[in-house]
């Protein structure tokens, strides 16, 4: 079979870092290729070279057998290479059709106006050809993450992509959506398209890919057929040692109520109610999980708890005090830690180095500031501690946050928030984009905090993660808590139904006795 993409001896150097070191990679047309590797292994960089965002220091890119040199993504798209970033580039108030054709709209009347009928027809044709379940007239803001991702794929296909690159596409999806995405992969490859995707989940790579390439320290350590390799072999290739996967969770030793959310409603940015009358509470020494498809009010709820958004109704009680009107700073000072959902906008100041980022949120605390004067020596030591403890690579506290790989940025944020000596940790997607080894480490730390009597409020769209870590699990749908279940006894199907907004109450509900909503009413 013909080679769709051939990367020949690609080297990409950044000042002080070799992100890709003489990487060869060949992907056959009509196959799915998975890219695995630890955080900072160079996966994203390699794909950015292929997509024309970076110019390789050395080496040659071949697409369809021809040597190519891309100056920008535009050139890559013209050559049939499309990339779907996890951070979707869609315009919310516009329809699916408008988004798909944006920038390449068919025109009429001498190009004076958009031929909307033709645009819609073309999008419908494209959709039907690949069997996508997408309404061309729906607005982006109305559809879920999974659909948005499909719109991104349609957009690339509309521009003539033959090769599709997806960077960690499954990180934001629910298991059901992941299955749908893989079905889309099959349809696409059946029609001769080529897919390269990055993932941290070995199971997904083995299930969906034809071939798997593992990167380590910027080098290609091997390309293997997906059906001839075991998880253990892959893990060994990635980290060079065996990876055990056991979350040891001792029974919860619950203490007093640390957080009580009482009848809280919150509006989203557009002023539409995103959270409606939600109540729950979290006790010291337990992990309270919130599961749900992204965009069902979790972000708004969490922002209300952490002080970044004002609720329109209800009370938030923290350690016995009504903190509804407290500023964000006061909540931080009251030992509330927060691993934010959006690491690029909120969690890190991208232009600051890690020393400066390490004190974000503590810049007024006694630890780093005395009479308003910053103690940079303490800040340096602190950054170094986080870097070492949480294995941030490269271990350079002077490098700007923007220069770190996604997973390493995440590890640094998690480290900063966990090391704050918190009474409550609010963690949203704490391991999103983090490799297996570090995920395990973060889970261990989270459970260690729990054992030491910290209350943990955990939000994740990764069902396996919330089920594994939570003592009680609230499932949210459309701004409401559908139910609070015992994650051990509730089945994945039951939780899935709740997430979809359906009540699986055919008599024997999944609601476990000890796990009912003991909210702060």
């Amino acid at each position: 079979m013909a080679t769709a993409v051939h990367l020949d001896g690609i080297t990409k150097r950044f000042p002080g870092v070799v992100a890709n070191d003489d990487v060869d990679l060949a992907v056959r047309r009509g196959t799915v290729h998975a890219l695995l590797g630890e955080n900072g292994a160079g996966k994203t960089t390699l794909m950015n070279v292929l997509y024309g965002l970076y110019e390789p220091t050395d080496g040659q890119v071949y697409v369809g057998g021809e040597p190519r040199r891309f100056d920008s993504p535009r050139d890559a798209i013209d050559a049939g290479v499309g990339m779907i970033h996890q951070h979707f580039m869609l315009v919310d108030p516009m329809t699916v059709t408008e988004n798909v054709t944006l920038g390449n709209e068919p025109r009429k009347w001498l190009g004076l106006t958009v031929d909307e009928e033709r645009a819609r027809r073309e999008v419908v044709d494209l959709r039907d050809r690949y069997g996508f379940d997408v309404d061309p007239d729906a607005r982006i803001e109305e559809v879920g993450v999974g659909v948005q991702q499909r719109v991104e794929i349609l957009k690339a296909l509309y521009r003539g992509a033959e090769v599709l690159i997806l960077d960690e596409p499954t990180a934001v999806l629910t298991p059901q959506e992941v299955d749908d995405l893989f079905a889309v992969f099959e349809e696409l490859t059946a029609q001769g398209k080529t897919i390269i995707f990055i993932t941290h989940k070995l199971g997904e790579a083995m299930h969906a890919a034809d071939e798997i390439t593992v990167l380590r320290d910027g080098r290609n350590v091997g390309t293997v057929p997906a059906d001839e390799v075991t998880r253990e072999e892959l893990a060994e290739m990635m980290v060079g040692r065996e990876v055990l996967r056991t979350v040891e969770k001792p029974p919860a030793d619950r203490g007093e109520r640390v957080l009580a959310v009482d009848g809280v409603s919150v509006d989203d940015d557009r002023g539409v109610e995103a959270v409606s009358d939600v109540s729950f509470s979290v006790r010291a020494g337990e992990v309270f999980g919130i599961a749900g498809v992204d965009g069902n009010g979790q972000s708004e709820l969490i922002e209300a708890v952490t002080g970044l958004r004002d609720p329109t109704a209800g009370r938030i009680v923290y350690r016995g005090e009504d903190v509804t009107d407290w500023s964000r700073r006061r909540r931080i000072e009251a030992r509330m830690s927060y691993v934010p959902e959006d690491r690029h906008e909120r969690g890190l100041v991208m232009d600051f180095d890690l020393t400066q980022n390490g004190i974000l949120g503590s810049q007024h605390s006694d630890e780093f500031a005395c009479d308003g004067r910053l103690d940079w020596d303490a800040a340096r030591d602190h950054a170094e501690t986080i870097i070492e403890e949480y294995d941030v690579r490269p271990p350079n506290r002077r490098a700007a946050a923007a220069s770190f790989s996604g997973g390493n940025q995440q590890k640094f944020i998690v480290g900063r928030e966990f090391e704050r000596d918190p009474a409550l940790v609010v963690a949203t997607h704490p391991t999103r984009g983090v490799d297996i080894g570090s995920t395990e480490f973060i889970h261990d730390r989270l459970l260690a905090l729990r054992s030491s009597g910290v209350a943990v409020l955990l939000v994740s769209s990764n069902l396996e993660e919330v089920r594994g870590l939570s003592d009680r699990l609230a499932v949210v749908h459309d701004g409401e808590i559908m139910d609070v279940v015992d994650p051990e006894s509730a089945t994945e199907e039951e939780i899935g139904l709740l997430m979809a907004g359906e009540d699986p109450s055919d008599g024997s509900g999944p609601v476990a006795a000890g796990a009912t909503n003991e909210g702060g009413r």
């Binding site: 920008s72 996890q86 960077d167 934010p340 906008e345 890190l348 974000l360 308003g372």
Partner: protein, 444 residues
């Protein structure tokens, strides 16, 4: 095809150059600025020669390659730069020709009158440059330094005037000058806090409000000094002059130079102070964080509204101090028609990359150019307009790399950010940030 290649190559080189500029180290930036200065002078030489050919004059000022020119560019630049320092160089000192006479002209002292002019301008520009820089670092484009300076000047002139009868002599100086500076800082600070509050609590764009407040300041000041506070003995619109003991003592310079080393030292101390504030205090951390990433600042517990108001108040206070020093050191009362120090402060700040330490140097360069222009006017036949062109060239060339750095930060910072954003970030928020930022406005 080949045309495509060429344009692609140009784009790649353009982007690479921009990236290089953004990542330049401090030493490299000094080198770039120096190179830009030399380059601007090379271009200036050509312009002066061309202008000299196109003018008719009785006697050629210079003859190069057998062609006469009305203006001698070397004499012009000599007067512009060295004239501003009081012509320190001994004409017999020509090391290139093997003549090692003493380098400094006999009788030259660094404490000469022209040097005083240079340093006097430098002093005021240090204040206004710092004023703009502080706001800029907080992500606020304060065009209102001029208005804050006017308010500070007027308030100082009046307050010192009414307080002056209460004290006299050395005690008067010791009391009135700090008092005048305090009044200038407070009034300028309050005047700066207004657009700050409007931005923080009413979402009003600071560029618009500060420009409008500049007009308000000048207009109200004119009304006051033309009416209620007018010096009855004067035909001009000005207040009664302050007594001599309310004026900055000249220390090592002549009193007629209207310059005091003390004021300059105060400015230099503020350069250090502002640097310290930004880099070594928690409040400075808040300012810088809100300036480059407001969402992260909010996450880090920074009160966005308060930071906007207080950084604008500090910016205004620095502008007001500039006005106070202008009154207490240079004119001795308030007169209408205050020079545009506030607007020059914007250029000074950009020249300095909004770095307080750089403001000191940029203000000095500005001071040299301003003072040197006068020397050129007196010493050579070159018309002031031509000198204005040369000054503009120098500023343009030196500021351009910094300006491109400011712009480039937005372009280059986004490139690595986008790929990184692919495996993190909040999904499905419409990708508005990358797009909007690439749009590249400098405001807010």
């Amino acid at each position: 095809m080949s045309g495509d290649d060429r344009s692609g190559g140009a784009r790649r080189r353009g982007r690479a150059a921009l990236e290089r500029l953004v990542r330049a180290s401090a030493a490299e930036r000094v080198f770039i600025s120096t190179a830009a200065l030399v380059l601007s002078m090379a271009v200036g030489v050509v312009i002066v020669l061309a202008a000299g050919r196109m003018t008719t004059c009785g006697e050629a000022a210079a003859v190069y390659f057998g062609v006469g020119f009305c203006y001698d560019p070397f004499a012009v630049y000599d007067s512009l730069f060295l004239g501003a320092l009081g012509n320190p160089i001994n004409p017999l000192f020509r090391p290139l020709e093997g003549q090692f006479a003493p380098p400094f002209r006999r009788g030259w002292s660094p404490l000469n009158g022209q040097m005083a002019v240079t340093l006097r301008e430098t002093t005021i520009l240090v204040f206004t440059g710092l004023s703009v820089a502080v706001a800029f670092r907080a992500g606020i484009f304060n065009i209102g330094t001029q208005g804050q300076l006017v308010v500070g000047a007027l308030a100082t002139a009046l307050a010192a005037l009414y307080a002056s009868p209460l004290v006299a002599g050395l005690v008067g100086t010791l009391v009135l000058i700090p008092f005048g500076l305090l009044v200038g800082a407070l009034s300028g600070g309050l005047y700066g806090a207004i657009p700050g509050a409007l931005k923080a609590y009413a979402d009003a764009n600071e560029v618009i409000t500060t420009i409008m407040l500049n007009f308000v300041a000048t207009g109200v000041a004119l009304y006051l000094v033309a009416g209620p506070f007018k010096d009855p003995a004067s035909a001009a619109n000005e207040t009664v002059s302050l007594p001599g003991y309310a004026i900055f003592p000249p220390v090592v310079f002549e009193p007629r130079d209207d310059f005091s080393v003390l004021a300059l030292l105060f400015g230099v101390a503020l350069v250090g102070g502002v640097y310290y504030l930004l880099e070594h205090t928690a409040f400075g951390y808040d300012i810088r964080t809100s300036g480059i990433q407001p969402e992260a600042a909010e996450y880090g517990g920074v009160d966005a509204e308060r930071t906007v108001v207080s950084s604008m108040a500090i910016s205004g206070a620095l502008g007001g101090l500039g006005g106070a020093v202008y009154v207490l050191m240079i004119i001795g009362n308030y007169q209408t028609g205050i020079p545009a120090y506030g607007f020059d402060g914007i250029t000074v700040s950009i020249l300095a990359g909004n770095n307080p330490l750089g403001v000191g140097f940029a203000a000095f360069l500005f001071g040299v150019l301003k003072s040197g222009s006068i020397v050129v006017d007196v010493n050579t036949g070159a018309p002031p307009q031509l000198v204005g062109v040369l000054r503009g060239l120098i500023i343009l060339f030196v500021a351009m790399p910094e300006f491109f750095r400011l712009l480039g930060r937005r372009v280059v910072a986004i490139e690595p950010e986008r790929p990184v954003a692919t495996d993190g970030g909040r999904p499905g928020d419409g990708g508005d940030d990358a797009g909007a930022e690439a749009g590249g406005e400098v405001d807010e």
